[in-house]
């Protein structure tokens, strides 16, 4: 097993899928000559040429629509958004075209496309560049939403997303590109719709995804020093959600905290909590709590930004509350 960065794991997935299937192509801003704004597509232009690694003008609505149209007639586009903040310009194509086409056409025309790029906040990029939009896309029937937290999952989930016959919203962590981890070589495929227990535990379940997985694991380490054994469950796919894994874990620990980077109102955690209270209400020994980003546009100032983000201390605090240890 090789040790790879998250960035290179994505790169390997793209390369292997493009080698495997001539219908797969990559399109987006700076994916070719520039080698990718975040270097995820490094080397691909040289290997596959400009017809399969396509630099676009800055025209998110336009090239997202080009991807949907190409997918409607059988190609398998991977459309890169430089960040998901910019993809707001393409929401019409993602929601009105990609998500609806199969249903409106009564199954005649599908959209086997992946829309990918970094989401969430990085460091001091301020309001318009620091946003987590997974709950928006997860709201839409017809879309799948995938968010890997580790290099191995990044590779395995991207390969599955490319092979999936549905439009897949694939949100990478902008702060995760440099993290390293062991990644199986070659045919490593992680199925969509399956959560993963990143840390086994018995006292409380911390449910999280993407960058919040690292936050939650750090919180779990701190809690271990206080003799609290936390289970960390990484959703990996937001939609379809692995409700079975969620419910099994909560039924085991009887306490739960849901952590996410996004805003609290109608966030992913709200959906998780709804599922838990409906399905395993009697298993709960405490109300489920949520740790989210602050309900404000992201400020630029370093201290204010820190205050706006979820972090291990906030997760520890929430866990202490559901354990009634405060």
């Amino acid at each position: 097993m090789a040790t790879l960065t998250y960035r290179d794991a994505l790169n390997h997935a793209l390369r292997e899928e493009m080698q495997r299937d001539p219908n797969v192509f990559l399109m987006g801003e700076e994916v070719g000559v520039y080698q990718g704004a975040y270097k995820v597509s490094r080397g691909l232009l040289d290997e596959f040429g400009p017809m399969r690694v396509v630099d676009t003008p800055i025209t998110e609505l336009g090239f997202a629509g080009v991807g949907v149209g190409a997918a409607m007639v059988g190609l398998r586009p991977v459309i890169e958004f430089m960040t998901w903040n910019f993809a707001l310009l393409a929401v019409d194509q993602l929601v009105n075209s990609a998500a609806k086409m199969r249903y409106m056409s009564n199954g005649q025309v599908g959209v086997p496309a992946v829309f990918r790029g970094p989401g969430g906040s990085a460091l001091q990029l301020a309001s318009q560049h620091s946003q987590a939009f997974e709950s928006w896309y997860a709201h839409i029937p017809g879309l799948k939403v995938v968010m890997p937290a580790t290099p191995a999952d990044a590779k395995g989930l991207l390969k599955s997303a490319i092979r999936d016959d549905n439009p897949v919203i694939f949100i990478e962590g902008e702060m995760l590109y440099n993290i390293k981890g062991e990644v199986p070589e070659g045919e490593h495929v992680v199925p969509l719709g399956r959560a993963d227990i990143k840390r086994q535990g018995s006292d409380v379940t911390i449910i999280c995804h993407s960058k919040s997985v690292g936050v939650s694991l750090k919180a779990a380490e701190q809690l271990a020093n206080e003799d609290v054994d936390a289970e960390v469950l990484d959703l990996r796919t937001i939609r379809p959600m692995d409700t079975e894994a969620v419910l099994n874990s909560v039924a085991k620990t009887h306490r739960c905290v849901v952590v996410e980077e996004g805003w609290p109102f109608a966030g992913v955690g709200a959906q998780v909590v709804d599922t838990i209270q409906r399905e395993v209400f009697d298993e709960l020994d405490a109300p489920v709590l949520r740790v989210t980003g602050a309900d404000v546009p992201m400020p630029y100032n370093k201290q204010l930004e820190k205050a706006a983000k979820s972090d291990p201390a906030k997760v520890v605090s929430a866990v202490n509350q559901v354990l009634y240890r405060d």
Partner: protein, 343 residues
């Protein structure tokens, strides 16, 4: 309105080619079918048999018929939501289209799409689309796919003149020209985006000139003359197929009816005189007179064709009326592909 007058046909002085007589008669039949189909759809709407929005194509028949006749069976077509006529001209049966308007299981999208979302993938008819301009980039993507695969297919996009003020139009045409794609953008300039006249929405009156921004071939076409329409379309299709270059066709036409069923034919935004003036250039009357004048048909055969079409439309209506609704479980089908599709 004199200002909307399109350049008149240059071919009118010449006689019609007798070798194409069957094709020419077929165009008349298709236009009659669209006209009578739409009249019947309007009637069905008034009776509550068709719901939602219903945008009729009456007055613009020569555009769909003349242009679609220039395409091959493997080409791709997308349309706006005013697409009943294109669907019929491409060959979706009048029964399947009418049943779809009625929301029935035997409609061309099983009752799920309705008037605005007609599809038949087997004919390359890839949808009526409901967001103004939203399907223009899709068509660029289909043309991209044709180039990617090295096929000789072309992709054609039909949209109204109101869509050219939308960012999707600009982005899609820029990429098609930049990448030299076999795409054809056919703007049906019927003078009004809903109730807003072209000159109240676009700083540039001549839509064809917008192609200059993309260094793209362009042409202004008289959309009320089916032969002129067909000839212009053939030039554009040849450019796309042989030279792999896109074209913007500005087709000047006129909507004889309101924007949708809730919009009167004339009123706030256009006068009775204007509509009546435009109706004098009825594309169907013009073409049938031409066929008669050139001896390819006579009044009896036109009448008989008309009767035959009315019969077909009546049968489509009866078929749609009697067809079953989709089964309740259809609510959840085709949301996702594959077995893992969730509810």
């Amino acid at each position: 309105m004199a200002s909307s007058a399109a350049p008149r046909s240059k071919t009118k002085s010449k006689g019609l080619d007798p070798a194409r007589a069957d094709e020419y008669r077929g165009w008349l039949r298709q236009m009659l079918l669209i006209r009578h189909f739409e009249e019947k759809a309007g009637e069905a709407y008034s009776l509550g048999k068709i719901g939602g929005f219903c945008h009729l194509y009456i007055g613009q028949e020569a555009v769909a018929v003349g242009s679609l006749a220039a395409l091959g069976p493997d080409d791709y077509i997308t349309c706006s939501y005013r697409e009943h006529g294109h669907a019929l001209a491409r060959g979706i049966s009048s029964q399947a289209v009418m049943a779809e308007l009625f929301g029935k299981a035997s409609g061309c999208t099983g009752g799920k799409g309705g008037s605005m979302h007609l599809f038949d993938a087997s004919l390359g008819f890839l949808g009526g689309h409901g967001i103004v301009g939203g399907h223009i980039p899709l068509t660029t993507g289909m043309a991209f796919a044709a180039k990617y695969r090295g096929t000789s297919q072309v992709a054609v996009c039909y949209f109204g003149e109101a869509a050219v003020n939308n960012g999707a139009f600009h982005e899609a045409l820029n990429m098609a020209a930049l990448w030299k794609l076999p795409a054809l953008y056919l703007c049906e300039n019927n003078r009004y985006g809903m109730g807003t006249a072209l000159e109240r929405a676009s700083a540039l009156y001549d839509i064809s000139e917008r192609a200059c921004s993309y260094d793209m071939a362009n042409e202004v076409v008289d959309g009320q003359d089916v032969l002129t329409m067909n000839a212009a379309m053939e030039r554009a299709v040849t450019r796309a197929r042989n030279e792999k270059l896109p074209t913007l066709l500005e087709v000047r036409t006129y909507r004889f009816m309101g924007h949708s069923m809730s919009d009167p034919i004339h009123g706030h935004y256009r006068t009775r005189e204007e509509v009546e003036g435009q109706r004098k250039r009825d594309p169907i009357a013009g073409w049938s007179q031409r066929l008669i004048a050139d001896g390819l048909m006579d009044e009896d055969s036109v009448r008989s064709m008309d009767k035959n079409v009315l019969q077909e439309v009546e049968e489509a209506y009866q078929f749609a009326d009697q067809a079953p609704d989709p089964a309740p479980e259809e609510l959840y089908t085709h949301v996702y592909a594959g077995e893992e599709g969730e509810r």
